[in-house]
Amino acid sequence: MATHRDAQFPSTPYIEPAPAPIGQPKVEEVGATSAPLKSAAFFIGQQCQEVNEDFMLCKNESRDPAHCLKEGRRVTRCAQDLIKKLGENCGKQWEEHWQCLEKNNQELYMCRKPERSLNQCVFEKLKLVKNIPGSPEGQPQIHEKKNPVWSGVQR
C-alpha cells in the first residue's frame, strides 16, 4: 500500500557532473537550432542518407547508447558538413527561409516563396533536390503544386 509523501522539487536542476568518457574521438555537436534545421531538413536527408540509415539500423539492434557511438559521430559530421556548405553557398536564401518559418510557427506551407528560391539555389550550387519520400507518384509534390489548398495569403 503506498502512503502519500510530499513531492520535493529542489530549486537547482540536476546537471551531470561526470565528464565525457576518455578514449572516444571528440566531435562537436551540431550547433544549428530548430528553424535552420527544419529548413535544411530535406537536403540533410538526401546528402546524409547512408550514414543516417546506418545509424537507424544500428539503433534498431540495441538501444544501449554505447552501441552506436561511431555511427552517431558519422551522422554529426555529415550534418555539420552540409550546414557549413549551405551557409557558404546559399546563406542568404537559407536565412530568409528560416526567418519566414520562425514567423509562422515553423509551418512549411506558409513559406513556399522563400523555399522556392532556396531550392533553386541549392540545386544550382550543391546539386541537391528536395524530394518528399512517400509522396504520391503521379502528382507534383506538395511544394511544387501550383495552387495548393492550404497556403498563406501570398503564394
Binding site: 513531492a7 520535493q8 522539487f9 529542489p10 536542476p13 540536476y14 546537471i15 551531470e16 565525457a20 562537436e28 555537436e29 551540431v30 550547433g31 544549428a32 537550432t33 530548430s34 528553424a35 535552420p36 555539420q80 558538413d81 550546414i83 557549413k84 551557409g87 546563406g91 537559407w94 536565412e95 528560416w98 520562425e102 514567423k103 509562422n104 510557427n105 515553423q106
Partner: protein, 85 residues
C-alpha cells in the same frame, strides 16, 4: 432616406475596442517572444527542440546557423528532478 449615421457610432466603438484588445494581446505575446509571433500547437518534439534552442543560444526564441555548438552546450543540459528521501 438619409444615412443612419447614429448607428455607425456604436459599430465604430466595437471595432475600435476589438482592435485595441487584439493589438494589445498580440504586442504582449510578441514582447515575450523576441518580436516573433507565439508558437502554438506544440508537441513533445517541438518542445524538446525549443529546449535545445534555448541551450544553444541562451534565449528562448534565439536561432543560430552555426555548424558547431558553443562550448557551454556540452554541460548545460539540466534535468528537472525530484529529491527522494
Amino acid at each position: 432616406m438619409p444615412v443612419p449615421f447614429e448607428a455607425i457610432i456604436p459599430m465604430g466603438l466595437v471595432v475600435v475596442m476589438f482592435g485595441v484588445t487584439g493589438t494589445g494581446f498580440s504586442l504582449a505575446k510578441r514582447m515575450t517572444n523576441e518580436g516573433k509571433p507565439a508558437r502554438h500547437s506544440l508537441d513533445d518534439w517541438e518542445r524538446m527542440m525549443m529546449n535545445r534552442d534555448e541551450r544553444l543560444t541562451g534565449t528562448p526564441r534565439g536561432q543560430s546557423m552555426n555548424p558547431t555548438a558553443p562550448k557551454e552546450f556540452a554541460t548545460n543540459s539540466a534535468w528537472q528532478t525530484e529529491k527522494l528521501a
